[in-house]
Symmetry: C2
Subunit: 181 residues, 2 copies
DNA sequence: TTATACATGTAACTAGTTACATGATTGA
DNA sequence: TCAATCATGTAACTAGTTACATGTATAA
């Protein structure tokens, strides 16, 4: 299970509850390599406990549900290191945007325009997120590298789209009737 | 099911068997947005048949298993167009490479070097694949856009890695003993 | 002779998502 | 007052992968 390794990774940077791990992944640099939901995190954490890779401390809070803060055990750190050393899997991208763009010529131009604008806003949001991480300060050379890498790619996307979107709309004829033939 | 739309998309560019669809996705531009295996394709194709979105013709071949070539019906084309018009989902990247690089400082430098070299080779292979598609000629402005986009991003990755890999290895002290503490 | 390409399909398994269940606090 | 944030967890479902089953032809 991949969620386990992700939790191990998140916890290696500091103790956290399941809820906090989600936030770390969603808003931090870890999120550039993977995504994960609560329903994967909570079972994964139980699993880590079972395997002796993490320990837990329960905190009661007033007017809030109790918080369970997890901490890596030495075994947990070893296990993470072992997982990190394994050969990498091939990177995968699942881009609904590119999928749609492949068929730009059979879609109404306004729809294509909208998809492009949505993508550009997405890129802006990602860049803003990276800036936030950068402002908080990178704590390792790895984090700085990943932040820079992610930013470079987002910028390359934005530039390419800005330079080439005219190819998709405007120069070409009609929309929907093309597909019906 | 996503595999259905992918098959619809592949078939919209010409009749094909399940085996051929796999090849189209793996080696063509469609593969930059999604991946898929045989065991997703064959059930998806049966489904398309059931729903009247595709028709099939069986060819016997000497010394080869019989081939079932699928063709989109008009309903199939409409269905594809409908799916394409829907708002796009957010693009997702699952990068084992970035995940590992985040922890470069606790990995042995040689391991990090190897991961970087593997990633660079991966990029080369992807660029070569795009070139092959380009040489075969793009048949729509969408294909040209996607080919260019994918190439631009791969180049941005390679450039960033070339310019910044020194941050990860060399300047920093030790490997494995750091994690044991 | 060994691996790869050709070609289709099912069964079992893995991993992840969505929806459900519960409920106080805080900010707009 | 309405949405969002805090906080944990389960059940049901979706989607995809790996392994299995079968077998010929061709290129290295």
């Amino acid at each position: 299970m991949d969620a386990k390794i992700l939790c191990l990774a998140a916890l290696s940077q500091g103790d956290a509850s399941g809820y906090e791990i989600r936030k770390i992944v969603k808003s931090g640099l870890l999120g550039h390599s993977r995504d994960i939901g609560y329903s994967s995190i909570y079972p994964a954490l139980s699993c880590l406990l079972n395997d002796g890779l993490a320990s837990v401390t329960k905190y009661s809070q007033i007017g809030r549900p109790g918080k369970k803060v997890y901490r890596l055990t030495p075994d947990g750190r070893m296990s993470l290191l072992g997982a990190l050393k394994k050969p990498t899997e091939v990177d995968k991208t699942r881009s609904d945007f590119l999928f749609r763009m492949l068929f730009a010529d059979i879609l109404p131009p306004s729809v294509v325009e909208q998809m492009i604008d949505t993508k550009l806003r997405e890129i802006e949001a990602t860049l803003a997120r990276i800036d936030t991480s950068a402002d908080a300060g990178f704590e390792s050379p790895g984090e700085a590298f990943v932040g820079g890498y992610a930013a470079a790619i987002q910028r390359a996307m934005a530039n390419y789209i800005a330079d080439n979107r005219h190819q998709l709309v405007g120069s070409f004829p009609g929309p929907s009737n093309k597909v019906r033939s």
